[in-house]
Structure formats: structure tokens, C-alpha cells
Symmetry: C2
């Protein structure tokens, strides 16, 4: 069966680097835990003095609250169906939520605890959020929220996810600087509330060096990185901290094809294109402890529920036998980790997640 291998040293290296970057830029650091979804991995943040986290759902908030986290932002526009789960969280936990629409406010009258909220700001991504120039909506949201006893306005949150849509450094810097500028303006306009600005997707937090006006960063994927981040220039191949170990189950030298056990239920169907070809994973060299980059640009080029297909294999495939284990970097480590639900470190330690 496929296994998701985690290189703890690489992972801690990624954490250390981001902690350092936050420190150098005088940013508070609230890493997103949706990528690893693991109490154990979250403890590695604690070792660097991190005391607050970001999650994407209330079940995830509940899990991390149970493992001792006391300051949790649920960075997903609030769903009224989650009021009960919110109220049931341990009292000691400071909870923040995300809002982008005044229509949610009547539902929040049912909140039985103090909750901070951030206004989700859209600086150009076009997914969720109040458009950054819609200051009347922002004003109205803040004022209406003041009539709700347990709710207090904490600031602005921006996930500039359009950073994933371009690998062009100039365009990416532009969208980053626009986000900074938009958030700065909002902070100035609503300065009487002393709002904070929270920011952070992995590409921007990894690549950019100017965070003027930002108070806190919330990247998540950087803890593992993946092929998508590699193609965006957000990481080096050596920094990718998870790899899938897959048994070879088919060998067809006459058509230069290998088939592995490692499919859509393991790696996910997330796809990128490299050299114009569809890629579901990139082969790396297995070494006694973990993996290392390979000279062979061998991709997983096809995928069904359980199977991964390697086409146009080189002569090296002669030495591969049925049952051998090959290693692959995932395209999108968040989805892969969510599917696999467990890690085994290169030292052999089993690591559980919320979904184990």
C-alpha cells in the first residue's frame, strides 16, 4: 500500500525559515494547519514559540483545541451551521472567525462566547471577501457588528490566492504590493478600531520580502511544500518534505510503461503541467532514509482511482521489479495529506492526524 513519508528535518527546516522571516519582518506568525492536520506537527511549531494557529473548519479547530492550542483563527467565511460547534469549543480557547457579509450577523447573536472577527478582504483573487475598495460595506459591517454582544472586530484578513495563478515574478510582486497597499489603506481608514492586517498564502510569504503594514502572516502549505510551489518558484525541490512511497504493480518494457499503486485516492487528482505534459507526481530517488532529487524527469502522467501511470520510462526501468518501492513528490501536499491521513517519518515514527 502507498505510504506518505515525512522528512521531519526538512519540515522543521521549513518551519524555522518561516519563523525567521516573520521575525525579521516583525510579523506575528499564525501558521495554517489545514495542510498537515496533525497535533504532532503542530507541536513542532510550539518549539519555535508559536502560540496561535489558523485552521479552515470548526472540526479542525476542535481537534487542535483538544491538543492544547488556545488561540485559533478559523479562516473560512463563517457558515451559520457551525454556531453550535463554535459554542462547544473549550472556554479557554480564543476564537477568531472570518466574515465578509452583513447577512451573517443575525446568526452570530447565538454565539455564547467572546469571538473576534476579521473582515475577509478581496484584493484581486476573486474567491471570497469584501472588495478592498468597498469601504462602505466594511464600515457597515463593523458598525452592525457592534450591536452583537459577543462579537468584536479585530481587523482584516487577506488570502491573495491569485499568487497561485502566475509564476511571473513581476506580476506576482505587483499583486502582492497591491494587497499590501489595499490593506494599509483600510487600516488607516479604520484606524479608530486599531485593526490588524492578517495576510498570507505560501507563495507570497515564501517569495516576497516587503510586508509593510502587515501584522501577522498565516501561510500553511510551506510546512511541506509540493510540486505546485516548486513550479511557482516558492520552494526548492530539496525543501519538499513529503513524498509518497508507492509499490510497482505493473511493468511493460515494450511500451516503456510502469504502473504503481498510487492513484487519485492517495495523491489526489490535482494536476500541473510540466514541459507541456500533465503531471500528477514527480519521481525522486529513494535512499535508505527518505529521498533525494533524481536526474530522471519521470512524472506520473496518468491516474485512476488506485493506479498511477509512468509513461516513456528510460532504460532505468529494466532494473525495477514488481513490488519495488518508488518515491514521488505530490503536486498538492494539502490534498495528499488529507487523503492519506497518516505519515511515517524517515525515522519510522508514525504520525497521526485529525482524520486518522
Amino acid at each position: 500500500m502507498p505510504q506518505l513519508i515525512l522528512d521531519k528535518q526538512k519540515c522543521i527546516g521549513n518551519i524555522e525559515k518561516m519563523v525567521k522571516k516573520a521575525h525579521e519582518n516583525q510579523l506575528s506568525f499564525r501558521p495554517h494547519c489545514k495542510t498537515h492536520q496533525s497535533a504532532e506537527v503542530s507541536n513542532w511549531y510550539r518549539d519555535f514559540g508559536v502560540s496561535k494557529i489558523t485552521v479552515s473548519t470548526f472540526p479542525m479547530a476542535t481537534y487542535f483545541a483538544q491538543t492544547g492550542w488556545n488561540d485559533i483563527l478559523v479562516a473560512f467565511t463563517f457558515d451559520p451551521g457551525q454556531v453550535r460547534t463554535l459554542n462547544a469549543l473549550p472556554e479557554r480557547v480564543r476564537i477568531s472567525i472570518l466574515i465578509d457579509n452583513p447577512d451573517i450577523l443575525p446568526h452570530l447573536r447565538k454565539i455564547e462566547r467572546q469571538v473576534s472577527f476579521y473582515i475577509d478582504i478581496d484584493t484581486g483573487y476573486g474567491r471570497t471577501g469584501v472588495k478592498s475598495d468597498a469601504t462602505q460595506t466594511v464600515d457597515s459591517l463593523i458598525k452592525q457588528s457592534q450591536r452583537i454582544k459577543n462579537l468584536s472586530f479585530a481587523g482584516f484578513y487577506c488570502h491573495a490566492g491569485h499568487s497561485y495563478k502566475t509564476a511571473d515574478p513581476v506580476k506576482r510582486k505587483e499583486l502582492h504590493l497591491k494587497a499590501l497597499s489595499d490593506l494599509k489603506k483600510l487600516k488607516e481608514q479604520f484606524i479608530t478600531y486599531a485593526p490588524k492586517a492578517l495576510y498570507g498564502d505560501t507563495p507570497n510569504c515564501s517569495i516576497q520580502n516587503d510586508f509593510t503594514g502587515i501584522d501577522e502572516i498565516t501561510p500553511g502549505n510551506f510546512v511541506f511544500y509540493d510540486l505546485m510551489q516548486l513550479t511557482l518558484g516558492a520552494c526548492q525541490m530539496e525543501e519538499i518534505a513529503v513524498a509518497m512511497a508507492c509499490p510497482v504493480v505493473g511493468k511493460y518494457p515494450e511500451v516503456r510503461r510502469l504502473v504503481i499503486h498510487g492513484g487519485a485516492v492517495h495523491l489526489s487528482k490535482e494536476i500541473i503541467h510540466m514541459e507541456g505534459k500533465p503531471v500528477f507526481g514527480l519521481m525522486v530517488n529513494g535512499i535508505p532514509k527518505g529521498w533525494e532529487p533524481s536526474d530522471r524527469l519521470q512524472y506520473i502522467s496518468g491516474m485512476s482511482q488506485e493506479h498511477g501511470i509512468l509513461e516513456e520510462c528510460g532504460d532505468w526501468m529494466k532494473d525495477v521489479n514488481i513490488g519495488d518501492i518508488l518515491h514521488f513528490l505530490p503536486v498538492h501536499s494539502c490534498l495528499t495529506a488529507n487523503l492519506m491521513r497518516n505519515y511515517i517519518t524517515t525515522e519510522g515514527q508514525h504520525i497521526a492526524t485529525l482524520n486518522s
Copy 2:
């Protein structure tokens, strides 16, 4: 949170129809359980007299053996790493495996129980299997297997998965008839072993009516169907037996966009194209018990880890509020069910799976 709703009546209707088709064509029926992965759903097959199943992994075989199934085919080219799990299956269970390479045989000397094997035959799909004209390989495989005490040759297995690659009825019939003809030739050539021919992907088993030479069919997806099967003409929309109930978490009337909680970790990143546009799910009308097709061709057109994006929404979106539940048919129900790990029926019954 998103919930996967299962319409038990539609599901049983799909089972009944396939049972009838098998009966009318004098075919034995060994449904694939990788789609639903649920003991409860597998019991609905038992009510129609089904006594054997297909699975894709040994953990899945173990789960269904524990729930009382006694005849299980693991329809995935055998991985030597699974010998121990195979040996640990309850003695009463008759296990069949899939082989396409003589290199696997030495590993099978470690089998401590009687195991039947089918030779995986490639009639044109190009994933796994011995090419259907490679009769020398087939002959060699059978002869070599006879030297292994616990192994007995049972016949040929063909998953004609290239049926998923064309919606053209003429081309699809051609590839189906080629598969039948190839299997028939193999059966005749190796008649001294009285081999059986196992066949069956959902599109072919749903659409085709000629199964000459086939002994047993093994489709799986038909139990739920999905948008992919719909676009292939393998089912009617009314037959799709699962839908995702997703809360609305974002409403942006100025750009005609809605955002739902329902993303890649719920529906999967499986994509099809309808009217030239990327589709991750199709909206249907929620009704008091379940759902029904809608006149609105509203797709999930974008997706991230937790979010689904509905673009170009019609005037109907005015009546939608944050927190409302919208219903969506999945593109690939196997992957969606694997991610969700639980169902709730339209009658409110909770149904667990292997992964619950």
C-alpha cells in the same frame, strides 16, 4: 459542513437494474465495492442474491470479509507487499487475485492458503494487463503458476477502461466488441483450463447489450453513477444516487458569484468539461427528501481545498442566503465517497464505510 446524501431508492434501483441485466445475459455478477466501500450498501446486493464481490485493495478485502463476504476478488495487479494481509484473511473466504507478470510468481510461494488467480488482459485500454494477443505470455504464466502449490488459474479479467475515453457510441461499441472477441479467443485457446472471462466497467455494462463469451461482470460505479457517467451516456441524471449538500458561505451578487463549503477535500479535483467549461459538480434542486434535476445549468466551476465557486449565477441567486444548503452531483462518485467516508440517506440513516 458538507454532507454526502445517498438516495437509497435510486441506489437500489441501480443495483436491481444491473442484477436484471446480468440475469438476462446469463452472467454471474460480482459488483466492485470500491465505489461505496460500505458494509451496509454491500448488504443491499445480498438482498438480490449476490454472493461475491470485487474490491481493489487487501485492506478493503479484509473489511468486507469481516462483514460476512466469502468470495472476494482483489482486482488490482498483485503487490508482493500484500502477501501477509492475504494470508491473514479469514480461512472461510475464497480469495482471487489478478496477475499480469510472471515475475510475481516467486512471491506467491509465500501464500499459505488456496488462491485463484485471473490473468489481467489488456484489450486496448493500455493501463495494466497482458496484451490480448500475447498468448505466449499467457501460456507461460499459466504453466509457471502450476508449480506453485496454493495457486490455481481461474480465467481472464478485463477492465476495458478506454470506454471512459469516448462518448461516441460507435467507437465504444467497437472497443467493447473487440474486448469480447479477444476474451473469447483466449478462452478457446486455453479451453483445457476451462477459464472464465470476467469483464466490466460501468459504461460498458450499462450501455452494451451483447456479452457473448463473458461469464461474469464486475462493474462498481453504477451503484451511484455520477456526472462523468452521465456525459458518457451510461446513466440518466435521475439515476445518480449521491449528491453533496453544501452550505453557502459567500454571496457576491455584483459579480454573480456564490461560494459554497464544498471543495477538493469533499468532491475531489476530478474535472469534466460541459459546454466547453470546467465542471467540478452540477447543482440540482434540493427537495424535502433528497434532490431532483434543475433547469438551471449551474456548475461548480472553480475549486480550492474547502471552497467551491459558482460563477455566472442567474437571478435565482437573489433568493439564496448565507447558510442555505445547495445540492450538487459529483463528477466522480468513487472519489467523492472515498473522501467523505460517510453517507446520510435521504431518510436520515447514517451509513459508515471502511474509512469511517
